[in-house]
């Protein structure tokens, strides 16, 4: 029922502050709903040589070739085996379509701007500049990611040097 409530909230408040939440390990993260193109189940992808380990490869999304990143690895978290319930978030960043592997997608939530705090001194493996803020939802903390930055061309282009 909590979830329903969340959705209802999301609806009443409009899309601007809606987030798709997902889990990585213990933490719950959120991305702006408008960045999300769709959510797909795990599917086989083609490995690409000479790329950092967090780039798992490319897959065919309705005729276009889309890279797939493992966010766990990007955030220097432990690798987790993929299974049929692994979820790929298809995101749209800088006109690029990029797939991001996460542990599981939880919900579409509505966060009041008041509930979002600016990034505190947050001790985690994740770079501070990747985090937009911290959302509070009931008892849960939702880390709002700056996905534009995480998946910016410079972040990806850095890979070329590697």
């Amino acid at each position: 029922m909590d979830k329903l409530k969340g959705i209802n909230q999301a609806i009443s408040n409009g899309a601007g502050d809606q987030f798709v939440t997902f889990t990585l390990g213990e933490e719950e993260y959120g991305v702006e709903v408008l960045k999300v193109q769709e959510i797909i189940g795990y599917q086989r992808f083609t490995k690409v040589p000479s790329v950092p380990s967090f780039v798992k490869g490319v897959l065919n999304l309705r005729g276009s070739v889309v890279p797939v990143l493992d966010l766990r690895l990007k955030f220097n978290m432990a690798y987790r085996e993929y299974d049929n319930f692994t979820v790929i978030l298809i995101l749209e960043v800088e006109e690029r379509v990029i797939g991001v592997i996460v542990d599981a997608v939880s919900d579409v939530v509505n966060l009041d701007p008041d509930d979002i705090q600016q990034t505190p001194d947050f001790s985690s493996g994740i770079r501070v500049d990747f985090i937009k803020g911290m959302g509070r939802m009931d008892e849960k903390l939702i880390i709002i990611l700056d996905i534009d930055r995480i998946l910016s061309s410079s972040e990806l282009a850095l890979l070329d040097v590697a």
Partner: protein, 564 residues
């Protein structure tokens, strides 16, 4: 000097008789041949006489033909050649023949005187004819008258002389024959008389000389036939009879020596037979011993065989039992296997259910995803997506609930699968234990089976040994039979020797020491031979009976042997 033995005496006697016979026949033969020769001369002279007469006539015919030719002018067809007329032909050939040379001188002279007149006659005839042919009939006639007639008259005269001469010869011969015939008769009579006298003398002498000696010898032979070899013929003669007597004496001597030898040999034969008997006795004894030993062996083997048989039987039983045990164990194993299989099926089914749950789960997941996407879409659509978002939320709720339910079922199934797995393991373990039991039972059964087969083999071996013993027994029996045969043979040999000695006692021989000694030894042995014979005759039948029935191990006790 010729020895006067019987053969020569006989030759002499019969030779004298044959000589008389020959003299007589010679006398007869000589006289009879003189007679026949005289006869022959008579006949020859008669033939000659007639031949001369024929020639006389022929010439008369010739003269007539010539005169006819001269006077009548008849054709003259007779020969003018003196060698071609009948007489000419004969005369000339005869004069040259041997016959003529043996002719009596008178005859020969006459015959020679014939030649000239005859030749003249024919030559004259030729002259006549010549004259006639010349037409000188007159000359012819004259010549005829002058020459021819005298010639023919002379010839005719010779002819006549010849005939007379022949008649004289015949007469002379007839006289000579009559005188020789009477001389012959007297000679034959004389000879015959001498022969009768001589024959009678010879017969008397010869019979008296031979018969006495022969009678003496007959007596001697009669003595030998009676068995008396001690008497000899006393005849001192140099002829054949003397020789005969001498030989007879020799024969008696030899015979008496031979009888002595036979007596000695028979004694030694009896002796040998005795020894053989003794050997046979020993052999028989040993054979008996062998037989008894064999019987003992057979009995032991029989016992052994029965034990082994029992052994084999026991092993077979044990084998059966082991097999039964194994079967039972196997059945148990099968049951365990079936249990395992059905447990496996349960497990499989559980797994299938788990798979289905997985599918349900997956569907829930997909539904959730779809609902999420719908929520995203709805969010993007803003106000317009409101209703849609509610529905999406409901769908997500349902999906999550079904996912949770699926998860619960999954847990239960997992639990059951785990339990089944545990049970499976237990069953599998008991199966394994059973299997090991089966394996050991198998091993036991195998061992027992091996023992059984070994016992079987042993029984077969013992059987074979038994057979061999039986065969040995047979051979011993045969040996005993042979010993018996040999004993009887030696006994009969002793008897034969005795018989021989008995026969030999028929002869009365001159005194001899060896014979007497033999008679003493043979008398001691006789009773023993009979004993052996008795024992052997009884035993073989029993031994044979034992050999025939191998199972019947009733062996003759020793008492039976004590008789020996």
């Amino acid at each position: 000097m010729l020895k006067m033995n019987i053969r020569n005496k006989l030759y002499l006697a019969f030779g004298a008789m044959i000589a008389l016979l020959v003299i007589t026949s010679v006398i007869i033969n000589v006289t009879s041949s003189r007679l026949s020769e005289a006869n022959k001369v008579v006949i020859e002279q008669a033939d000659f006489e007639s031949q001369m007469k024929t020639f006389q006539k022929q010439h008369a015919d010739w003269i007539n033909a010539l005169s006819n030719h001269i006077f009548v002018g008849a054709e003259f067809s007779k020969t003018l050649n003196p060698r071609e007329c009948g007489f000419g032909k004969w005369y000339y050939s005869y004069m040259e023949s041997e016959e003529f040379k043996n002719e009596e001188p008178e005859t020969a002279r006459l015959m020679k005187s014939l030649e000239e007149p005859h030749r003249h006659l024919h030559e004259g005839g030729a002259s006549v004819i010549e004259e006639m042919n010349a037409g000188h009939k007159a000359n012819a006639m004259k010549f005829y008258q002058a020459n021819t007639i005298p010639v023919i008259t002379k010839l005719d005269g010779i002819y006549s002389e010849l005939v007379d001469n022949a008649r004289d010869v015949i007469e002379k011969r007839k006289v000579e024959a009559a005188s020789s015939e009477s001389a012959q008769r007297a000679l034959v009579l004389l000879t015959t008389l001498f022969g009768i006298l001589l024959g009678t003398a010879i017969a008397f002498f010869l019979s008296r000389n031979i018969v006495a000696a022969v009678q003496q010898m007959v007596t001697a032979i009669k003595n030998v036939a009676k068995g008396d070899l001690s008497k000899k013929v006393d005849l001192n003669r140099s002829d054949e009879l003397g020789e005969m007597a001498h030989e007879l004496n020799n024969m008696i001597n030899d015979l008496s020596k031979l009888v002595g030898d036979v007596v000695v040999s028979s004694e030694s034969v009896a002796n040998a037979a005795d020894q053989i008997s003794a050997g046979n006795q020993e052999l028989s004894q040993r054979t008996q011993e062998q037989a008894s030993a064999l019987e003992e062996t057979a009995a032991t083997i029989e016992e052994m065989a029965s034990t082994i048989k029992q052994n084999a039987e026991n092993a077979r039983n044990a084998n059966m039992l082991a097999k039964d045990a194994s079967d039972l164990a196997q059945n148990g194993g099968r049951v365990v296997e079936e249990t395992v299989a059905s447990m496996g099926e349960v497990s499989d089914a559980s797994k299938k259910i788990a798979d289905i749950i997985d599918v349900v789960n997956e569907i829930a997941f997909q539904t959730n995803l779809l609902a999420l996407n719908a929520a995203v879409e709805a969010a993007r659509a803003g106000e317009q997506g409101k209703g849609f978002a509610v529905v999406a939320g409901e769908v997500r709720n349902l999906a999550q609930r079904s996912a949770e339910a699926a998860k619960e079922i999954q847990g239960l199934i997992k639990d059951s699968v785990g339990k089944v797995d545990k049970g499976n393991k237990l069953v599998e373990e008991s199966g394994k234990t059973l299997k090991s039991i089966i394996d050991s039972i198998h091993k036991v059964a195998e061992t027992v089976s091996e023992i059984s087969s070994a016992s079987q083999e042993q029984a077969t071996g013992i059987d074979q040994v038994n057979k061999a013993v039986t065969m040995m027994d047979d051979v011993v029996q045969q040996n005993a039979a042979l010993v018996e045969e040999s004993a009887s043979a030696s006994q009969s040999l002793a008897l034969e020797a005795e018989e021989l000695k008995k026969s030999m006692s028929f002869f009365n021989v001159t005194n001899d020491a060896s014979l007497k000694r033999e008679e003493r030894t043979s008398g001691e042995r006789k009773p023993r031979l009979t004993l052996i014979n008795k024992g052997l005759q009884r035993e073989p039948a029993k031994v044979r009976a034992k050999a025939a029935g191998a199972e019947d191990l009733d062996i003759e006790t020793e008492e039976d042997f004590e008789e020996f």
